[in-house]
Subunit: 419 residues, 2 copies
């Protein structure tokens, strides 16, 4: 793995992306953080605390409730799984023996038998965000330990680390992962900690997302998601980039197979989103080629939300093999229109979004002339079929434009195909 | 009606509430504004525009889908029903003949046959908020016109009026309604327009809510609700008053049979609230004795939201004949605890609220010592039964305190009864 790993001791070389053969499509699965946070009181909260039962419960649900068959193939442990100190003999990190009596390896064995992969969490600094053991320079030791537990992905947070040193720290741990020769997807929180999120020239070094893409499969660029529409709206606004400016946008052009911008977890099924708001999050996460890591309680899901997250047509857009991240082609007040090119060059995906919060909605219109010139095959005379992939209905053949009634806090999501 | 109407030409006399025999319990029904706003384009939006069909559709649903039997007994027309000019011959207000071909009287006849009442909207100023005809001093003429249409309630908004004159204008129209001798519930937006909302001594006159209660059955005190949790949270925060300070709180002590603070419409079933958030709104509106005027599409309701709004035990708290408005007995960060006394003096209603937006929730605890001393019969040795009225389960007999796990953006609602 990581066959094209570059020389780390020299400064970054632009425009070469990580090619460890992993995460060729946006990762899909489940991650504990938003829903279960750092609850370690298993006496008071036996079903909701961070322990092996929680992850095995979710693995059971992924395997048995139709999720795995749709591509949700990993269970990801987040913060608060370890002891706060290393093993005094070996210096290795240690899972809390009360909450993980069979260690992380025990969880890995369980989920692997179900056909799932296991993700783990750590931090590039001295401590995790929750105050648990961080990597703190033990790159090779920790990489070897984690690999020996048979994990398949690692999310490395950036708390309690010196940000100006991250351009050395994150690549160093990535190199250590590489040396283990176990394929481990590498998720870096790195750009979330850099001033400007590596979009503009940052104040502390010259790290760009293109640099980060050389060393990481995915990366968090922005603040943590919370269980609220406000939080989701803020994150969506951050990703309202100009599709017409694709090749010049710092965030858009680095995404693709093996490299993904991560706007954070899917929170459908929690308490803060209405069905309309949940549809909006899922549609936007799909069109921007985001990892689909749910943080909810799969043991207790409203059927409408489950059905949304299991929408095959939307998942297919998210997982489209071209891997090109979607963005905006129109913004005016509460109206936002998003698009994404697909591997099938006769098709594009479109989202019509109404961010208003009053009344029963309004007709939004997608015009073919919104499609940038670099997307070939589309002009005002093009006849195209419109499929509403949110509710699985065909809107028939259209020319020049199509429109649909979009309720407040809602989206319509469509696949347009040249006839 | 309005038998105890007071002399208007002198200044307000405190502490005498309106006693027109109406609205002895908080009004319940349906109101068009939030969901349907001022959409008058019936060509583009035939099912959603402000016309007689919309109100007759909703009347059908209220009568036939179980709402009326539970107390939701009125359909309320809001802004944008009229022409923009008065009849040149009679000077009367006129319903738009294209959208109301049989006039408001036609709608009244239709809803009355179903056993429902009809509410209408107007404005104390020269124009309504939507720019349609306002009362503009035509107190007696308009009151007679509306009474001749057989309306049962009137909401009078305060756009395009001189706020310092409202203390004369609103009572004058109330007197005119009184003279028609038709019982018409009078809803005044008056305090929403006064600086300080009549809570503190306002800057422009000395109007208090006690004054307003002499002339109005209900009144809007605060800004319009929108279809979002942010909007609902802001309004709830406004009503987080101190129950222990009941007799001194400007807003609490004026509420009671015939007089209600109106925090605005119930928006469950629209697009902006999750089920948890909807439960929160409904529980808080019930405990603060608010009018339950839904603004949603009754023709297309998610069963879970319909079931919530048809929760008989919560409606019974809202409609409790004592009519005492609930308020807060505890606030700490995201935890808010509300209570309300009931006509059955062995019982109280309690809401445990978690305003957080992270994780899976936390245990909230209601302690008997939170109950103010003026509520008799409760001390730390009192044994009481706890009924969860949100999900219709009994929590058994308790003493000193009880606790329950409350998810983010959620509430628990309980009836506590001394055993």
């Amino acid at each position: 793995m990581m066959a094209t790993w570059l020389v780390l001791s020299t400064y970054f070389v632009h425009s070469t992306s990580l090619n460890n053969g992993l995460a060729r499509r946006p990762p899909m699965g489940w991650l504990s953080w938003q829903r279960f946070r750092c609850e370690t009181d298993c006496g008071t909260y036996p079903d909701d605390c961070i322990n092996d039962k929680l992850y095995m419960d979710m693995a059971d649900r992924l395997a048995n409730d139709g999720w795995l068959a749709l591509g949700y193939n990993q269970v990801n442990i987040d913060d608060c799984w370890s002891l706060r100190t290393r093993d005094p003999q070996t210096n290795e990190q240690v899972a809390d023996p009360n909450r993980f009596p069979n260690g992380i390896k025990g969880v890995a064995d369980y989920v692997h038998k179900l056909g799932l992969k296991l993700g783990l969490y750590n931090d590039i600094g001295s401590k995790t965000c929750g105050g648990y053991t961080g990597i703190d320079g033990n790159y090779q030791l920790d990489a070897q330990t984690f690999a020996s537990w048979d994990i398949d992905m690692i999310k490395v947070d950036g708390c309690n680390a010196n940000v100006p040193d991250m351009w050395q720290m994150y690549p160093a741990f990535g190199e250590a992962l590489n040396k283990t020769s176990r394929p481990i997807v590498y998720s870096c929180s790195w750009p979330a900690y850099i001033p400007g999120h590596a979009e503009t020239i940052p104040s502390i070094d010259n790290t760009t997302l293109a640099d980060i893409a050389q060393y990481c499969n995915l990366w968090r660029n922005y603040g943590d998601i919370g269980d609220s529409w406000d939080s989701v709206k803020n994150i969506m606004q951050y990703w309202q980039r100009n599709y017409s400016n694709y090749s010049n946008d710092a965030f858009l052009h680095v995404a693709g197979p093996g490299n993904w911008n991560d706007p954070d977890m899917i929170i459908e099924g929690d308490n803060g989103l209405s069905l309309s708001e949940a549809e909006s999050q899922f549609a936007i996460w799909a069109i921007i080629a985001a990892p689909l890591l749910m943080s909810n309680d799969l043991r207790n899901m409203d059927p409408k939300f489950k059905s949304l997250l299991q929408n095959k047509e939307i998942i297919a857009i998210n997982q489209d093999p071209l891997g090109k991240q979607g963005a905006c082609v129109y913004k005016n007040g509460n109206e936002v229109i998003w698009m994404r090119e697909l591997a099938d060059d006769k098709s594009i995906a479109v989202v019509l979004q109404n961010l208003g919060n009053a009344g029963f909605g309004t007709y939004l219109q997608f015009q073919v002339d919104l499609i940038p010139d670099f997307v070939s095959g589309w002009d005002s005379s093009t006849v195209f079929a419109v499929r509403n992939i949110l509710n699985h209905t065909d809107l028939g053949q259209q020319k020049t434009y199509f429109k649909d009634l979009i309720q407040p806090s809602s989206v319509g999501m469509y696949k347009l195909t040249i006839v």
